[in-house]
Symmetry: C2
Subunit: 345 residues, 2 copies
Amino acid sequence: MPITLKEIAEKLNISVTTASKALKDYADVSPKTKAKVKALAKELNYQPNAFAVHLRTKESKTIGVIIPEVVHHFFSNVIRGIISEAEKKGYLVIILQSNESYDMEKKQLELLMKQQVDGVLISLANGTNNFDHIKKAIQQNKPVVMFDKIAKVVNCSKIIINDIDAAYNATKHLIDIGCKKIAHFRGPLLPQNSIDRFIGYKRALEDHDMKYDPSLVYLCECGDNSFEEGKINAQQLHQDFNDVDGIFINTDLVAIGAITAFQELGVNIPNDIAIVGFSNWFMSTVITPSISTIDQPGYAMGQTSFNQLYKEIKAQKYGDYVEPETITLKTELLKRGSTQKTICN
Amino acid sequence: MPITLKEIAEKLNISVTTASKALKDYADVSPKTKAKVKALAKELNYQPNAFAVHLRTKESKTIGVIIPEVVHHFFSNVIRGIISEAEKKGYLVIILQSNESYDMEKKQLELLMKQQVDGVLISLANGTNNFDHIKKAIQQNKPVVMFDKIAKVVNCSKIIINDIDAAYNATKHLIDIGCKKIAHFRGPLLPQNSIDRFIGYKRALEDHDMKYDPSLVYLCECGDNSFEEGKINAQQLHQDFNDVDGIFINTDLVAIGAITAFQELGVNIPNDIAIVGFSNWFMSTVITPSISTIDQPGYAMGQTSFNQLYKEIKAQKYGDYVEPETITLKTELLKRGSTQKTICN
DNA sequence: CTGAAAGCGCTTACAG
DNA sequence: CTGAAAGCGCTTACAG
């Protein structure tokens, strides 16, 4: 059984009160007593009972993270960023995975509320189009910060990238290298990211006198941005058109699926079709051709998200109000093989 | 502020005791009272204060996981397996990352002990060669289950694969396709997995009348199985030998680095050198050539690990003793492009 | 069937 | 400088 304060106090013939204060360096305890208590605590390897502390202080030093998918280059980087910052501040991180399902996400948020985590970091599931569960948590004064997959209508801090601009740049890059008919693999319908990337794509076309054609936009039935989706959409596109010469694809993993399918179909990337992906998955550097993409700073997003949450947890503890902030992280267009056309005419 | 039992009791003019028992369906509470209490609890969205419950019951319904690296195909699959099983049993999962460092790992285990998690799942850091921190946790009756990267000398349950057999099969596959001089990228020195895979490699050679040559074994200075390591070792090997025709590589990610380097050097994979990796990272299917590898069941390992830990947590709660078990999960050799030599002579 | 009481292990306002 | 007391919110053995 772990050692308790009471036992320390008894061995030293002092009160529990004094023992407690000594360990916390209260000013009104004599140096001698402090030294005695600290020495014994160390000797016995005393660890305060976390539950008792939490029950008194109302702080759990634990935060919850709800994420659509753990096995995912971007999100696993975010997790790493969160954990690394949390550790510096002495916080523990509970990870929950929603599997892109609204029901799971809702259930998990309730679990975290019940477990009294000090705050919640959440990236929405693709299936989420009702935000009451999150609003409810916020109403109950639980600090909540959304990252990457956010809902604009929820009033809380958000850590994001500018998907519209990034998609615009990705599409513009295709235009710059001479693509005349540019398709878009849009991914699932609901998430704000997909919407914004689509808007960026459309806007880039319109700004460069290229007509936007809805039939060039390929959706994803399955609800997640998968390798298979890329294959299926590429095959479909190959059937539908023979003059598409560029594609802006929602996510690198989907782009990899597309490239695989195109290679099987004998379509040369980038000479027949140039491709720009999104997110800069590690894989994109090692596949042939390497994939031009938008670098999305997952690790930094994790760090920033935790730090914002931490600020709000602290503020709330002292009764201060923090105005929700939206922090936009920088992205970068990385030009690689999938858009380096060999000049040959 | 969250609603408490006391408030419910007051509104209903009953005692806290009765309210508590009603919610937990004690037999000695009248059906009427039960109904009243439950109805009000539901109406007020009552959630028992987790800390108070934990303080009384000594259970936190939370486990901790210490893992070397989150951004990692294999480990992120393990995490997913753990989370999915934990969820079924109502457990929350705290994830900590050791960054392959012994000091971090030790610190994190202490954190988890202090936080009173109900049990710990751990995969050792490459840098860990002292196991006192783990033995200490076990001595304090904390259920601990090791997975994948284990220490044989620690007496606890272990969920593993048979690295020796798997490596043997991988190497034998190279022999079967006609390789005459087979090198090995061994990875870091300490971990049992690296040792066992090396043993399997060596044994396969010896069983097939091929002389084991230590100069064909390439270590990893850096301590982790990285893409760069693969590149560096491949370049070195290319300088050292011109007649190596097969390599068994510790991890797929390293194999991908090696393939990249060989391609730059004009070495044809698999015709000049055939390669077998380890772990079946998703990437290995999409790179050219695709990589023959050992499929390592990460998701199942996560599930099995949690379930074993759960068993031990329950047993301990009821004062039973559970004999530590070592569960070995099946692996499979997957033959792909990197070992499909084009016959041409 | 109901409830007063003790207690989990700590913190902190208060008295001396 | 020290300590008795109250209390965080719950559970459970015990009495009635």
